[in-house]
């Protein structure tokens, strides 16, 4: 590292490109915990250790008494999108969150303030096969494209159980739909998924035949592109991850069987509240599980949920993460992780993994984020106390080495923002007052000038 430090000293660098966070307790998650510093350059972690040389011109942030952990990753969120559910069709794989990213959603900033730097934004759970997901970084202030986690594996939402079969809500559950949309039972859910994947296989063959014709130099026009089936072909070919909303053990096993039959893997089971009952089978399939810490009994299919779910699945060898599925819960996923220590006795690192490296692996972005290691993106959350403490607050959040949240700055800017708002209110009130007076004036004018066109 000395060589690197010398190199850095020799080359004058623009301020801001190089940052050192020092005197912190660094929770790397994958490489232990130590008192030391993190060197960031060009948005990447260059070095993390007890002794790190500070290059000339580097911005130095003293984090004495503070705790730095990898930016939190939420594997299941619905923020920052202008629409979530395309629900009238049983298969809505033609839609995607990518088309409706809302970079103005204040929940992005609030998630940042909770230490979240990356989130998987999913389609809702209205139908067995939902829309395409989008992995995003919480780069508050950037436009829609600027939020996209470049290079992340594409994903798609599947959903099972009560939400998709919609029995018991004819005509009033989801608007004035005349009668139920198929499927109306868990059997139907399986049928819809199998049918869609069978269709996708046929579509895949259509394109392969076309390609074969071209290879034989025959004339052919390409098949009609079908936006519903294209993502499903990607699923079959392992190019798109399936994130499947599920609750009950029976439906979990059903989905794993379907995937085995069609020769692909379910990447994550989402919610998966009865996962502890079939953890071995989940591990054998190779699916990840992204669950809640301690939500249960909020609907019939959640009656068998237990707060030990995450810990039991971890012990059975499942790759487990904890997610929010809620803009509010998203702001304190660190304490959600802490609950897995109380319920199930995970150690600190295992608990932190549930909201950092594990969801990173589930989303296929672990080479970029999820731990504090040289070469990874400098996505960091700085807490004033140990992040697994109830009393911990986020002080600063970095994404790609850039400071996106700073508690101090936020507090400092509040009076100025209030003042700007008040100025606007006053200005518009004054205008309203002026306009209230106006109509009389125009009346007068009308009398003077009949036929005047204004």
């Amino acid at each position: 590292m000395n060589r690197l430090a010398l190199f850095l000293m020799a080359v004058p660098l623009a301020a801001g490109q190089t940052t050192v966070i020092r005197n912190a307790t660094v929770l790397t998650v994958t490489k232990g915990t130590f008192q030391g510093s993190i060197l960031i350059r060009d948005g990447k972690i260059v070095e993390a250790g007890e002794k790190v040389l500070v290059p000339d011109g580097a911005r130095v942030i003293d984090a004495g008494g503070q705790f730095v952990m990898p930016g939190i990753i939420d594997c299941h969120s619905h923020i920052a999108a202008d629409s979530i559910n395309e629900g009238a069709v049983a298969v809505s794989s033609m839609v995607g969150i990518e088309d409706v990213i809302n970079p103005d959603d204040i929940d992005i900033y609030r998630a940042l303030a909770g230490g979240v730097t990356t989130a998987n934004i999913l389609h809702g759970s209205a139908n067995p096969i939902g829309g395409k997901c989008q992995v995003m970084k919480m780069r508050w202030g950037k436009d829609a494209q600027g939020l996209i986690f470049e290079g992340a594996m594409p994903g798609i939402k599947f959903a099972l159980g009560e939400n998709v079969k919609r029995s018991g809500s004819p005509g009033n559950g989801f608007g004035a739909s005349p009668g139920l949309r198929y499927p109306a039972s868990r059997m139907g859910v399986e049928d819809v998924i199998r049918e869609a994947l069978t269709e996708a296989r046929a579509y895949q063959k259509e394109w392969r035949d076309y390609q074969a014709k071209l290879d034989r130099h025959e004339q052919a026009i390409p098949p009609r592109r079908d936006l519903k089936l294209e993502p499903l072909v990607e699923v079959l070919e392992g190019k798109r991850y399936v994130h499947a909303h599920c609750y009950r053990a029976d439906e979990i096993l059903m989905l794993l069987r379907v995937a085995d039959d069609f020769g692909f893997k379910i990447r994550t089971l989402q919610h998966v509240l009865e996962g502890y009952k079939v953890a071995k089978e989940i591990a054998a399939h190779g699916a990840g599980a992204s669950t809640f810490s301690d939500w249960w009994a909020y609907k019939a299919e959640a009656f068998d949920a237990i707060p030990y779910n995450a810990a039991i699945m971890v012990r059975k060898g499942v790759l487990v993460s904890l997610n929010s599925d809620s803009a509010e819960l998203m702001r304190h996923l660190n304490t959600e992780a802490a609950k897995a220590m109380k319920y199930g006795g995970l150690n600190e690192t295992e608990a932190l993994s549930l909201v950092t490296i594990n969801p990173a692996k589930q989303l296929g972005i672990e080479n970029r984020v999820g731990s504090i290691e040289p070469g990874k993106d400098a996505d960091l959350a700085v807490f004033d106390k140990h992040p697994l403490s109830n009393y911990a607050k986020v002080e600063k959040v970095f994404i790609d080495g850039e400071l996106y949240f700073d508690r101090e700055k936020d507090l400092e800017e509040r009076p100025g923002k209030e003042a700007r708002k008040k100025a606007l209110i006053d200005k518009q009130k004054a205008q309203e007052k002026k306009e209230r007076k106006k109509p009389e004036a125009t009346e007068d004018k009308k009398n003077e000038e009949p036929g005047g066109v204004r």
Partner: protein, 493 residues
């Protein structure tokens, strides 16, 4: 997103061919129909008008003599402003414009000293001239497609059956043409004209693909005479129709538009392949939805705030179809991006207002307040960035358009750019700049004559020339009930 466009309550029907509001339209030359009106009773006049309408082709065949507007300030838009210029009109066209124009002996010379002559204004997005209740094209519902031809989902409409994918072409009437549905007697024709507009670009406005627009001259004469060009484009909304229908979400609507666009490309390939070797080939299905899309020279896509503008600029590029955006109130935030994209933007002159029924105790968000404050600065920002833009009334009553325009000028838009946006830029966006939008020899004689400056609210509009015929604005009378007409297109929020 706004709900389905509301259709205003039906008004009492009017008798006769012409609405009562229509007063003598053509006050001068030549000695054709209107000369008689003073000496005729109202009823007799009605008969006369009906008769003349019947003989309309004859009337139009009789070319009016040349008219010269002399000594006016002429804002040509395409060239320099002439401080003391003359414009000579003949046969509905501009024959000459300049400081020294030789006037033919038979010219009717109007002394226009103190007046300013502009090209007739163009409302770049409108429903003026369309029937107040959208016509139902003769396409009955069938068992295979329950999609109504012109979907309107009021309380009495049966809801869409669920589980219908893009192949059912929901909320799609690409093939409906504004030019085929014109009602020259639409009261708003005269109202809009009286506010200085010689032209509007009118679109069917209901559904996702609402239909094909037409560039119209507001002569209020025969349908066929009003159309300058058709189709002028395809009006697209991103309105979703609720959870129980497909598409029921914004992303569903976007995906649907993308699929129809892809289908159109494929349809073309299929037809070409079939046309070259029909023998022994499977015949492609006829698809009126993509037919309508394919014949539309451009798509009009809604985009009001910065994220929508960004989204639709990207979407237009992805669709590889010429596009025009409409809305644009937050363009001040990303004017450079709009300029760089080259995609033209139609800005609604209906600036955001505080809702009339707003709770006075409810504090509004900073974003709402800021948008309301800064929206009128969008045109100025676009001018500075070099973006292509035009204006549309967007539901602003015709008589209030100048007031709305003034707010844009007060926020930094130059008067020259404001005039251009209302004339030549709109003509360029719709590909008719060779015919309208500026005062040049050979162009259609669409002119606006203002006693003073268009930007002086007190300055009266004297005349509007359309196809060389002179119109005077109607005297403003208190509105009998709803004078605003039905909801205009272009609402994007």
């Amino acid at each position: 997103m706004s709900p389905v466009r509301t259709v205003t309550e039906p008004r009492p029907s009017r008798s006769g061919v012409f609405p009562k509001a229509v007063k003598p339209l053509i006050t001068h030359p030549p000695a054709t129909q209107m000369y008689y009106h003073a000496s005729l009773s109202k009823r007799a006049m009605k008969h006369l008008i009906a008769m003349l309408l019947a003989a309309a082709s004859l009337t139009y065949a009789q070319a009016p003599g040349p008219i010269a507007l002399r000594g006016a300030r002429v804002v040509t838009v395409s060239g320099p402003v002439l401080e003391k210029g003359t414009v000579l009109l003949r046969n509905g066209l501009i024959e000459a414009v300049g400081e020294n124009v030789d006037l033919p002996k038979d010219a009717w010379v109007m002394d226009a000293q103190g007046a300013t002559v502009y090209p007739g204004l163009i409302d770049a997005l409108s429903t003026v001239g369309l029937p107040e209740t959208p016509a139902q094209p003769a396409t009955p519902r069938t068992e295979t497609s329950a999609t109504p031809a012109t979907p309107r989902f009021g309380a009495n409409e049966p809801a869409m059956p669920v589980q219908q994918g893009p192949e059912f072409r929901p909320f799609t009437t690409t093939w409906v043409r504004a030019a085929d549905l014109l009602n020259p007697a639409d009261r708003r024709v005269e109202e809009t004209r009286s506010a200085g507009f010689s032209s509007v670009v009118t679109f069917p406005s209901s559904g996702i693909f609402a239909g094909e627009g037409a560039f119209l001259n507001l002569s209020g004469e025969k349908q066929g005479r009003m159309v300058v060009t058709s189709p002028a484009g395809q009006y697209v909304t991103l309105t979703s129709h609720g959870f129980g229908t497909y598409p029921g979400s914004l992303m569903g609507v976007i995906a649907y538009i993308r699929q129809v666009s892809l289908d159109a490309d494929h349809y073309k390939l299929e037809l070409q392949a079939y046309a070259s070797h029909p023998v022994g080939q499977k015949r492609p299905n006829y698809d009126r939805a993509v037919e309508g899309l394919l014949e539309s020279p451009r798509l009009l896509l809604p985009a009001d705030d910065a994220k929508q503008l960004d989204r639709m600029i990207r979407f237009a590029a992805e669709l590889k179809r010429p596009a025009v955006l409409y809305g644009g109130h937050q363009a001040y935030k990303i004017a450079d991006r709009v300029a760089k994209s080259g995609v033209p933007l139609l800005i609604s002159l209906k600036w955001p207002e505080k809702p009339k029924d707003a709770d006075p105790d409810q504090e509004e968000s900073f974003r709402t307040l800021e948008l309301r404050d800064r929206a009128p600065s969008s045109p100025a920002a676009l001018e500075k960035a070099g973006a292509r833009f035009a204006f549309y009334s967007g539901g602003t009553a015709a008589k209030d358009v100048r007031k709305a325009l003034k707010r844009a000028v007060d926020a930094g838009l130059t008067e020259a750019a404001a005039v251009r946006a209302l004339t030549l830029s709109a003509a360029e966006i719709y590909g008719v700049a060779d015919r309208v939008g500026s005062i040049e020899p050979g162009k259609i004689a669409n002119l606006l004559v203002v006693k003073g400056s268009l930007f002086d609210e007190k300055a009266k509009i004297q005349y509007i020339f359309i196809d060389g015929a002179k119109y005077e604005p109607i005297p403003e009378t208190p509105p009998p009930g709803d004078r605003e007409g039905r909801a205009a297109p272009g609402g994007v929020e």
